[in-house]
Amino acid sequence: MSEAAVAVKTVDLKGGTFKHQIMDLLPDGGNLNLCLTCGLCSSGCPATGLEDMDPRKFLRMLVLGLDEEAAKLPWVWMCTMCQRCIYVCPMQINIPEIVYRARETWPREERPKGIRGSCDQALNTPTNSAMGAKPDDFKFVVEDVVEEIREAQECCKDLVVPMNKKGAHFFLNQNSREPVTEPDEMVPLWKILNLVGADWTYSDVGWGAENYCMFLADSEAWEKIVRNKMETVESLKCKVWLNTE
């Protein structure tokens, strides 16, 4: 947003529908107006400087009634939802929530293709893997790696990786990146669980830990995915769901 490109703007605090939606929807109007413009959020934000934007500017645009413009910025898709901003905000402004609402205003088909594709992939697979890994793929990879480890490493001759074990205490899920591209990275956690004698299990369905539908701000799909995972946990009668994401 270079200076020359911006004409003098007559401020209209009323703003557009997005601002109203936020103010009506969030508790205390999202504390939107409370912003002290101290910049704490932006000095800790990994997305600061991208597209010449930062969380403070985003919020300021909303305050000054430039909400429609702000919501349309590609920058809203660069937020990682890490919450470093709200963690320190002296006015407790929930910036990630507002960013999420901004994403929601985008027609689904205009949202970033990568995130959208990953969400759709997860919706279309019983594993909820954003990379589209199938139940059998996962089973195969896990068994393959276990075997390899048992053979190669003296310490791990008895390594067990339970799959679909009913009544296990912990249900463990897994980001699809590991089984699909870096299978060896799953091993350290197995070793730990084995060493402490944890009663745990994987499942060949509902194991995908990632949830791109949340990042896509597709609330319905987000919920659907979480429900599917929950059903898996419940069907295995596990007591604790360990989400490694």
């Binding site: 947003m1 200076e3 911006v6 004409a7 003098v8 703007k9 007559t10 401020v11 209209d12 605090l13 009323k14 107006n33 409370l34 912003c35 002290l36 413009t37 101290c38 910049g39 704490l40 959020c41 932006s42 000095s43 800790g44 934000c45 600061t48 400087g49 930062d54 403070r56 500017k57 300021r60 645009m61 305050v63 000054l64 430039l66 470093r84 963690y87 320190v88 905000c89 002296p90 006015m91 407790q92």
Partner: protein, 1166 residues
């Protein structure tokens, strides 16, 4: 015996001290208590204070009747004849009513006898405990027996019983037996164990065999009751088992407490009996111990319990009024340590820790080196608002002082590194709202290169993890919105204020209310009154304040307390102390009596007393040298009196410890034997012996001899002519200015029974405050002003002159005559004190279409229209406000401090009437200091938009069809924006009224901005340099109604202090003129900081007003002819002292070559 005081002051920081001194100086007796073992509060830790960046606490000491109090560094101690200081003391209960409160205090023992402790430090050396030192803000360690502050006089060690291991090593190491652990007394301290299980008793007996306690055992409840009833062996502690057979524990407890209400009952319970035991504890048992006991914990626990029971005291006082001055605590950033790295990175410190790092008594000897790795610190960042202005930390308020502290610290860092340090302050709003603050900031930025960055930093990480460097890296957004990464040697967290620990409990004990942030609650128009009548809030107790405002608040509290006490013992009716009559010894040959106190065992061990006595006897004019017992005890003092009686000396020199403690005693002695105390002196002969123990005997003796011989020649040269006679005081006051400040001051003085003339230039009373129609906190200023004017006009002691001016004023301290011109003619008025409250006005600068377009108005006009209903807020499309309109700019480089509050007040009123109305505030720094911050939060919450601008880029205002078009740059978006409101409201700020005629008449100064110049910004905020003249209200500095009331009351209290005396006597150290040598060059007149010198044209001589003179000696130093003299420091006298000191160096040699040569000091008479 129960003691009675005029007032109890709780908290002995500067706020408490100011209130105590204000009352003590008017003759009220004051009990000054503090829960800490030292006075001075947080100021003991801060060596440097804005604006001159050094200390100045001593400037609080009385300037009149100086001899009634200590006249040395106040960080070292305080003494005033009307103040009793009680340390480690807290209030536990209060009953009664204003004028006759009954207070119960609890004084925790230090377990060290101050009369025996010589401060040698042996105890501390052997103590195995090491805990964080409070004094050095945790940067150093201290023992469990320690000096609370290193600089106090007297400085006695105290035992921190909570951290004590009860190893008794200090007890054994003390050379004077000063540590009192009540060992012998244990035999009379009976402990009863009531338990059916014999093992409990056997174990205890076994564990406690070294403790010297008589332990008894009973097996059932009935036997326990019998044992408790045995008066000859009264039980002090009862261990009562919950499963005791016979009479059940409840009965035993009840009976025990009936027999002895002070019985300390400890309930012993099995884990399953704990609940029942806790319930029973509610009926008067003091402790519950769960079985089984651990001897390692049990023995020291019991020992400490015994120590507290035997040594701690409960004191009952009758007091007229109570003043609370508990100060504030600093926020502990430990809880945000995870992001700011405090506690994890040694490079992250709090502002108090930084002050200690800069201090000569701090951890690094005033060298700026980093804790942890001792790296010299060159690059420092300050982060503001840590724990302030933060909803998340439940601190929706501004701590008011941190901005100035950080600027001062940045300048200090520059000074300590000879300008090398790079300093950056990260801030949200630089709150430079106080008098001279803005100029200080501007100078820091422009002249000293302190960098100010408007940003907050998110987190602190090690700069380079691989190298092991302790440097830290911070990320922040610069003013252009770019992310910056910067490495610093040190990050100082400007920690905010919190109410003092224990405020809640104290508030409950006293029945006072606290506000939502836990500070003592006071009302807007009665800023020093708590919710309980007769209990007042001084200093920072009702909210954080800087030193100047702390003292003003304390002065106001003192006035309120004084008013209450006066009802019971009116000051005007009090008979003055008889003036001591001293015999005139000026024609006698000097005759010195030297008395040496020998109570300390170390003295005789380290010094050959006979030789010392013989040598002292050989000094010039020494008539007698006597060894006496303890000079500080009654029999010891009687010995001195008897000696003085017998030999009738005309100079008395006492060698003892703690010379300051003898000031009141010398005065008494003077009265008894008719000798001026100025001809007496006490010399500390113990510090050298304690400090140089183990050294060669001769060296110590030489030092003691040297100190005594120097004092003896000084006494020899002391001027024996009597002091000038006391001046009669005209006990009336003149108050110039009939606004809120003047009227409040007049009421304060008149309520004490003194006549006041109140002179107002206008035809009506009220001044600027009459323009205020409502307040931020929903008070009714209109009614308040009506009532005040009514009270002033009806007050029997106040004469109001309206449409009148003071045209002439002359006279000297305590006795002025002024002429008031009224429409009825001139009136002459004699008065002893003067208060100047000439006020100020809203500044009008014709700019931004003001007075051209109807839609442009000042905040005052908007307030008026809102109050009268003339403005229809529903018809408005938007309102814009511009702050700092010609304030904090060229020509007016100060913040008017009321404008931000006024804008918020109007803004919230607009929003209340029309919530949808868009409001834009263009501002530079929002100055909502203290609890006003919450209104800034409310304003934003209500939807007002705040847009920062700076001086380089001010908002531009144009008009299109009479509608203002404001173009400004939003610094966040870095975009030009425009607003087209229906109203443009300007904050013009406050200007002082023109006072040049008064300046000339009263000989007072104004500062660069035209406000009255106080004697000292911080320490004497309502005094003029010229005594008997006081200032308050807008003429002193901008302030809201509450602040104006506080300053007026503080000024009134200062005036009452003068008027409470029938007559005033000068101090014993004052300047004089030898007219025969004086060439009338006038150098002394201009150099005198107190305006005490004047040229009398009729007599052609320089006169010294002995009441204004403070004995600083500047005149004597500047005089080319030695015509200016300082009593007690004449040239001859000082030279003789130097001679004596040099002679002392030869002492060892002279001693070897007995008999000694005659001392070189001839009589010092001039």
């Amino acid at each position: 015996m129960k003691k009675t005081y005029g007032a109890l002051v709780v908290g002995a920081g500067v706020g408490g001290i100011r209130a105590a001194l204000d009352l003590a100086e008017t003759g009220q007796s004051v009990a000054l208590i503090d829960k800490k073992p030292n006075i001075g509060g947080i100021l003991t830790q801060l060596d440097y204070q804005f604006p001159n960046d050094h200390c100045g606490m001593c400037k609080m000491l009385p300037l009149t009747e100086r001899d009634g109090s200590s006249q040395f560094c106040m960080r070292k101690g305080l003494f005033h004849r009307n103040i009793d200081i009680m340390l480690s003391t807290e209030v536990t209960a209060l009953e009664g009513e204003p004028g006759k409160f009954m207070v119960t205090l609890r004084k925790r023992s230090a377990f060290v006898d101050p009369n025996k402790c010589i401060g040698c430090g042996k105890c501390s050396e052997v103590c195995p405990v090491k805990v964080k030192s409070d004094f050095n803000a945790g940067l150093t360690k201290r023992s469990a027996i320690y000096l609370p502050v290193p600089h106090n006089i007297p400085n006695h060690y105290v035992v921190d019983l909570d951290n004590c291991l009860r190893c008794w090593q200090c007890y054994n190491a003390c050379p004077t037996g000063a540590i009192d652990f009540k060992f012998e007394e244990r035999q009379g301290f009976h402990i009863l164990v009531a338990d059916s299980d014999p093992k409990t008793f056997e174990d205890m007996k076994d564990w406690l065999q070294d403790q010297n306690f008589p332990l008894r055992h009973v097996f059932d409840g009935d036997a326990a009751v019998d044992a408790l009833a045995d008066q000859s062996r009264q039980v002090r502690i009862l261990f009562l088992d919950m499963g005791l057979p016979g009479s059940d524990p409840e009965k035993v407890l009840r009976r025990g407490l009936e027999l002895n209400p002070d019985l300390h009952v400890v309930l012993m319970a099995q884990p399953d009996q704990e609940q029942a035991a806790r319930e029973l504890a509610g009926q008067g048992a003091k402790d519950v111990l769960l079985k089984p006991f651990e001897p390692k914990r049990f023995v020291p626990w019991l020992d400490k319990l015994y120590m507290r029971m035997m040594s701690d005291e409960t004191l009952d006082l009758d007091v007229g009024a109570v003043i609370l001055a508990g100060g504030f605590e600093c926020y502990d950033p430990g809880e945000v340590g995870d992001v700011l790295g405090y506690g994890r990175e040694p490079a992250v410190v709090t502002s108090v820790e930084f002050e200690r790092m800069c201090s000569g008594t701090g951890p690094s000897n005033a060298k700026l080196i980093r804790p942890g790795d001792n790296k010299p610190i060159k690059k420092i960042a300050w982060l503001q608002c840590v724990g302030s202005r933060d909803l998340k930390k439940k601190a929706d308020y501004c701590s008011s002082v941190c901005c100035m502290i950080s600027i001062k610290e940045a300048l200090l860092a520059k000074k300590l590194t000879k300008g090398e340090a790079e300093t950056t302050i990260f801030y949200m709003d630089m709150r430079t709202f106080g008098k001279e603050y803005e100029r200080y900031r501007q100078n820091a930025e422009a002249n000293d290169g302190v960098k100010f960055v408007n940003a907050r930093i998110h987190s602190v990480v090690p700069a380079d993890q691989t190298s092991g460097s302790k440097d830290i890296k911070v990320l922040y957004l610069d003013e252009a919105g770019r992310l910056q990464e910067e490495v610093f040697d040190l990050l100082v967290l400007a920690v905010g204020a919190r109410p003092p620990v224990g405020t809640k409990e104290l508030a409950e004990a006293l029945g006072i209310e606290t506000n939502e942030w836990g500070y003592c609650k006071t009302r807007y128009f009665t800023p020093s009154r708590t919710s309980a009548y007769g209990i007042f809030a001084a200093g920072s107790y009702n909210g954080p304040k800087d030193i100047a405002e702390t003292l003003i608040q304390s002065g106001a509290a003192a006035l309120e307390a004084s008013r209450i006490i006066t009802i019971y013992a009116p000051l005007t009716e009090r008979t003055p102390e008889p003036q001591p009559e001293y015999r005139n010894v000026s024609r006698e040959t000097p005759k010195i009596l030297i008395a040496l106190c020998t109570s300390c065992p170390i003295l005789e061990q380290t010094v050959d007393m006979d030789s010392l006595v013989a040598r002292l006897g050989g000094l010039a004019s020494v008539a007698q040298v006597a060894k006496i017992g303890s000079a500080c005890t009654k029999p010891g003092w009687e010995e001195i009196e008897a000696l003085a009686d017998k030999h009738s000396p005309n100079r008395i020199l006492i060698g003892a410890c703690q010379p300051y403690a003898y000031i009141p005693k010398l005065r008494e002695l003077g009265q008894t034997i008719g000798l001026n105390p100025a001809l007496m002196d006490v010399v500390d002969i113990f510090t050298p012996t304690a400090a140089r123990q183990g050294e060669d005997k001769g060296a110590v003796e030489r030092e003691v001899f040297s100190a005594l011989s120097m004092a003896s020649v000084r006494l020899l040269g002391a001027d024996p002519t009597p002091l000038p006679p006391a001046t009669q005081v005209t006990r009336k006051a003149l108050v110039v200015g009939g606004g809120l400040a003047g009227m409040t001051a007049a009421m304060g003085i008149a309520d004490h029974g003194y006549a006041v003339s109140l002179v107002e230039e206008q035809e009506t009373l009220g001044g600027q405050a009459m323009n205020i129609r409502y307040t931020l906190n929903d008070e009714d200023p209109v009614k308040f002003m009506e009532d005040l004017i009514d009270s002033v006009q009806k007050h029997p002691n106040i004469t109001v002159y309206k449409d009148a001016r003071v045209v002439l004023s002359s006279g000297r301290a305590g006795r002025f005559t002024s002429v008031i011109a009224t429409d009825q003619g001139a009136v002459s008025f004699d008065h002893g004190a003067t208060v100047l409250a000439t006020g100020g006005r809203e500044a009008n600068v014709y700019d931004y279409g003001f007075r051209v377009h109807k839609c442009v108005m000042t905040q005052r006009e908007l307030e008026d229209q809102l109050a009268s209903g003339a403005l229809d807020t529903s018809a408005l499309s938007g309102v814009a406000m511009i702050q700092c309109w010609r304030s904090r700019d060229e020509g007016r480089s100060y913040c008017s401090r009321v404008c931000c509050g006024q804008a918020l007040k109007n803004l919230l009123m607009l929003k209340k009437r029309n919530p949808e109305l868009p409001v834009y505030v263009f501002y530079r720094d929002i100055m909502t200091y203290g609890f006003a911050e919450t209104y800034y939060t409310q304003a934003r919450k209500a939807g007002a938009v705040f847009i920062r601008y700076d001086l380089k880029d001010k908002p531009k205002v144009e008009f299109e069809d009479k509608v203002p078009v404001i173009t400004a740059r939003d610094p966040i978006l870095q975009r030009e924006i425009q607003v087209r409101p229906s109203l443009l409201v300007l904050s013009g700020g406050i200007e002082p009224n023109e006072v040049s005629d008064l300046q000339e008449m009263f000989g007072v100064e104004v500062n660069a901005d035209g406000f009255f110049q106080e004697a000292e910004y911080k320490w004497r905020p309502v005094d003029f340099l010229k005594q008997r003249l006081f200032m308050c209200g807008l003429a002193r500095a901008p302030g809201n109604m509450s602040e104006t009331i506080a300053s007026a009351k503080a000024a009134a209290q200062r005036a009452v202090r003068i008027l409470s005396e029938m007559r005033l006597t000068s101090g014993s150290v004052i300047a004089e003129v030898r007219h025969s040598l004086c060439s009338l060059c006038g150098k002394c007149i201009s150099v005198c900081p107190y305006g005490a010198r004047s040229l009398d044209l009729e007599q052609d001589m320089i006169l010294v007003d002995e009441l204004l003179c403070q004995g600083c000696g500047a005149c004597a130093a500047v005089c080319p002819n030695s015509a200016s003299l300082l009593r007690g420091f004449r040239d001859q006298q000082v030279l003789s002292v130097i001679d004596a000191a040099l002679n002392g160096l030869n002492y060892g040699r002279a001693r070897a070559a007995e008999p000694e040569t005659a001392t070189q000091t001839e009589g010092g008479e001039s």
